[in-house]
């Protein structure tokens, strides 16, 4: 420890020289910085972490902004001393909140553009937020858009991107609100950016404004509504047979309409048939229920509001032709086609009521 402290002392001297040089070079009145730095370097009690950080400092180009009591400071070694002059005096202060090196690591990219450093760094911070939210959005179903968002965020740290990200802190603040009204100026910025890439911002649950689109509350609500509708359409797509390949609302709606109409026509036809047949029937409820009635098509579909609608097996109870109000509970298997097949075999060999009944072409 003693040796290390000596080194620290030496480092302190060295840094002391650099500090003075740094001050003269930069001309920044960062006196408070150095006030902070002094106890940092002159303390006799060197934590290993601090020591390592200090060692890191010594190896890299010393930078006044690096003189911070932050163990994560080693990542700041990316900085080039020449760029110090470009930074505003308050920039190191803005660097203070960074706890993770990841945020800092990206900051190195920002060094090219001067005078925007503060905002860039903030943008880097908020872009991380955006990344997290992008993953949320994938859950919401906006994943293709989300994938486009990510590369867009990580690329192009040019001036244009800088302008866009000027708005990001504000966007980050608005994140918690359900809807928000933004200025027209922001809208124009968004429009500019939308021309470069076509990825609109995803809708979060909290209804954030999309890039390149109007940010009125009306249009936001409209978009929410449309998203809900398309979600329902997707569910319907799974319900209606043969709609898996269809993309596009109009065709899908056509299919749904046709399907509903055909079902209704079927019902009508069957009821007509029933009417003609009716006088002669001796309907036995048990027998009806015993049939393979409830064996829907062999598909597992999520149904809105009714879960799960799957293949259902009826079983043949004892053929007591009584009006049994208490219907024998039908054994059911959910989602098991194997058992369905077994049942079918059982049904076929059953001599009693099994007609060649095959609902829905099963």
């Amino acid at each position: 420890m003693g040796g290390e402290s000596n080194e620290g002392g030496e480092m302190g001297f060295k840094h002391g020289d650099d500090e003075s040089g740094g001050i003269s070079r930069v001309g920044i009145t960062s006196m408070p910085l150095y006030a902070k730095a002094d106890p940092f370097f002159s303390s006799a009690d060197w934590d290993p972490v601090v020591n390592a950080a200090a060692a890191g400092f010594s190896s890299s180009h010393y930078h006044p902004s690096m003189a911070m009591d932050n163990p994560g400071m080693s990542c700041f070694s990316h900085y080039q001393p020449g760029s110090v002059s470009g930074f505003a005096g308050d920039m190191p202060a803005s660097l203070l909140p960074f706890g993770d090196c990841g945020g800092g690591g990206q900051i190195g990219h920002f060094l090219g553009s001067d005078k925007k450093g503060e905002r860039l760094i903030r943008a880097g911070e908020s872009s991380h937020e955006d990344h997290h939210q992008v993953s949320d959005d994938a859950v919401l179903g906006a994943s293709p858009v989300g994938k486009r968002r990510l590369p867009e965020a990580e690329s192009q740290w040019n001036k244009k991107a800088v302008e866009e990200f000027q708005e990001d802190p504000q966007r980050g603040n608005d994140q918690s609100q359900k809807k928000h009204k933004n200025d027209q100026s922001k809208e124009t910025v968004y429009k500019e950016s939308s021309q470069s890439e076509e990825a609109p911002k995803e809708n979060y649950i909290h209804m954030r404004a999309r890039r390149g689109q109007a940010t009125n509350s009306h249009s936001l609500a409209e978009r929410v509504r449309r998203e809900k509708i398309s979600e329902r359409m997707r569910l319907l797509q799974e319900l209606v047979p043969g709609c898996n390949k269809i993309t596009g609302k109009a065709v899908m709606l056509d299919e749904i309409i046709n399907y509903v109409q055909s079902l209704q026509q079927q019902v009508e036809f069957l009821s007509m048939k029933l009417a003609t047949v009716n006088p002669e029937i001796n309907i036995d409820i048990d027998r009806i229920l015993a049939k393979d009635l409830l064996q829907s098509r062999d598909r597992n579909t999520p149904t809105l509001g009714l879960n799960p609608f799957a293949g259902f097996q009826g079983n043949i109870p004892n053929l007591s032709a009584t009006t049994n109000p208490q219907y024998n509970p039908l054994p059911q298997t959910t989602l098991e086609s194997e058992l369905q097949n077994l049942y079918q075999m059982g049904f076929v060999s059953n001599p009693s009521t099994m007609s060649s009944f095959s609902p829905n072409g099963n």
């Binding site: 509708i229 109009a250 509903v260 829907s296 799957a310 039908l330 060999s349 059953n350």
Partner: protein, 157 residues
């Protein structure tokens, strides 16, 4: 619970029958429809419209958890001979409309949504999102209804 198939030694273990919604629906449906048909039978008054009425009534009564069933019941109780299903002319109408429609994509979709709303009992009183969810249930119940009707018809022929 176990049920044994009569001629086989397979055993079937049934789940709670009341939990499978399609089973519940079908059971309710047939339980409503068949006695009604029997009653109709007694009265010797089985006109097509009346049977249809009973069919629809059974549908509405078996699916009371859905909004459309309430509308259907209202319709049925208000008029004696309701026709809740659309005839085939509507299909032709759709085709015609799609020919007439210009390239306005949003307008087409709106038109179709409205068409769908007309199909669903009470659909016109709902907003679009609600209607789309209800349509899913309605489709499912219609399917089960057709299956039940088929079995009834086949059973009696």
């Amino acid at each position: 619970m176990e049920r044994q198939i009569i001629n086989k030694k397979k055993r079937v273990f049934s789940l709670e029958p009341n939990k499978n919604p399609s089973a519940v629906f079908t059971r309710k449906y047939t339980s409503h429809l068949v006695p009604a048909l029997k009653k109709l039978n007694m009265n010797k008054n089985s006109s097509k419209q009346t049977v249809k009425h009973e069919v629809d009534m059974a549908l509405a009564l078996s699916a009371q958890e859905f909004a459309w069933s309430r509308f259907l019941l209202q319709k049925l109780s208000s008029s004696t001979n309701p026709t809740t299903t659309t005839s085939s002319s509507d299909g032709i109408r759709i085709l015609e409309r799609s020919d007439k429609e210009g390239g306005n994509k949003e307008g087409e979709i709106e038109e179709k949504l409205r068409e769908l709303q007309k199909l669903l009992p009470g659909g016109e009183e709902m907003n679009v999102e609600e209607m789309l969810s209800e349509i899913g249930n309605y489709i499912k119940c219609l399917e089960l209804q057709t299956i039940a009707l088929k079995s009834i018809v086949q059973d009696s022929t």
